[in-house]
Each structure stands twice: as structure tokens, then as C-alpha cells.
Subunit: 107 residues, 2 copies
DNA sequence: CCTAACCGTTAGTGAATCCTGACCGAGCAA
DNA sequence: TTGCTCGGTCAGGATTCACTAACGGTTAGG
């Protein structure tokens, strides 16, 4: 029962099928059946993946008749991107210290 | 094309312990024992995680006496960040299209 | 030589994950 | 109403993952 793990955006993006769904959703909202038709897995699997993505806040769901249209959440994607960018900038900074040989030590 | 799963950067970042290692490595290179001392797992686990990260190209290893100093690879981190940024930009573009379909003059 | 410290590898276990298939409710048309 | 499509959920089985513990190899120092 770890909400952090289950709803973690990183864990959600770890699966290749889920990244394929995100990639298709980035080009526009789509329904479950449409996604399943383009992917080599069943609708059940797609539905379960969408549940994970929705739980992670990466996608949002909207009812349209009998269909459920899912769309990507740019804010959540940007949040993960920014976190990665922070790692990148910190790495550059620490390497600059090493290159400058300026007696670095960090807790 | 093939074993992307094991050496995939996204799968590598899926684990919380691995992200903790990356976060510490972002502040500067560190040895295995040092990382294990700061993490709630054994040295064996840290070594295995570092192997996964190295296999994914996220970290690089350098021998220093009996120690193995690991450092973060900013290029690999930037690559993942850029991929996420692409999703973000595509999503914004597709949403602009949807907004344009609904109301083209919505400021 | 021997000892100590550091690290990677392997074997094995328990848990989490991904998939398919079947079942059931919701909405739309004849 | 009946029939159809679409989608979420449950149950299962197979695969993968993360961890601990024990072992062997390498380097530095006495």
C-alpha cells in the first residue's frame, strides 16, 4: 500500500507500452479502443495501463458517449522533465567543481 | 531494437533506490561503500543498482585504488529530459489544435 | 609472507508486474 | 424492448524485479 510507488510518474513511464500510449496521446486525445488497435496488446491491458497513468496524474479521462477519451497532462510531464533537468544541472555544477579542482566536499 | 528493457534509462529510473543514487551522484562522484552507507540497503544491492545504471548509460565507473568511483552522465540525463520535453511540446501543440477547433479566437 | 578493506558476482527467495480471457454495467440504435 | 459496441474490473498464470547472504578477486599496508 504505497501510494507513492503506485502513483509514481517514473514507475508509470518505466513500461514500454505505457510510453507508447503517452507518445500517441501527445499527438492528441484518443479513446481506449483506438489505442488498443494500434498497440500489440489487448484492450484490457490498455485499460489497465491507462489506469496506472491516470493514477500517476499523467493523463486525464473524459466521457464522450460510450467512449472514454484520454488526454495527456502536460503539467505532469513538465514536472518530471524539470526533475530530470535538476539532476542535469546539479551534475554539471559538481563536474565544474571537479574540473576546477576546487577542494569540493558535499554532505 | 532488442534488449532495451534491461538497459533502458526509464526502467533504470523506475526504482526509488536508483533515483536516490542518481540524486546523490548528481552532487558529485561517490564510491559504492559511501552510497551504501547513506542508503537503507546493503552494499550488494547498491552494486547491482549501479550495474543497471551503468548498463543504461546513466553513470560511468572509474577505478581509484580499491574503490570504484561512480559519476553521473549528464548527457544521458539530458537525453531523457529532451524526450520528455518532446512529449510536452507535442501535447501543447495538439491542445492548441483542439482549442482552435472549438474557438479560434479564444485568447 | 599475511591481514584488512573494498568491491563485483552468484544463488535463492518473496513480491510486484504485465498479460490474456471472461464477466458485467453503461450508452446508442432499431 | 432487444441487440450491439465500448470500456472497466476480476481472476489466473508466467515473467521480471529487488533484496539478502555467502563467496572470490583485487589493492594497500605491516
Amino acid at each position: 500500500m504505497n501510494p507513492d510507488r503506485a502513483s509514481d510518474g517514473w514507475s508509470a513511464l518505466a513500461d514500454g507500452t505505457r510510453r507508447a500510449i503517452v507518445s500517441r496521446l501527445a499527438d492528441g486525445p484518443q479513446a481506449v479502443g483506438q489505442l488498443a488497435a494500434e498497440l500489440p496488446v489487448s484492450r484490457s491491458a490498455v485499460s489497465q495501463h491507462l489506469k496506472v497513468l491516470k493514477d500517476a496524474g499523467l493523463v486525464s479521462e473524459r466521457a464522450a458517449g460510450t467512449r472514454r477519451v484520454y488526454r495527456l497532462n502536460p503539467t505532469a510531464v513538465a514536472a518530471l522533465r524539470d526533475q530530470l533537468d535538476t539532476f542535469w544541472q546539479r551534475a554539471l555544477t559538481s563536474y565544474a567543481d571537479v574540473a576546477g579542482q576546487a577542494t569540493k566536499e558535499s554532505a
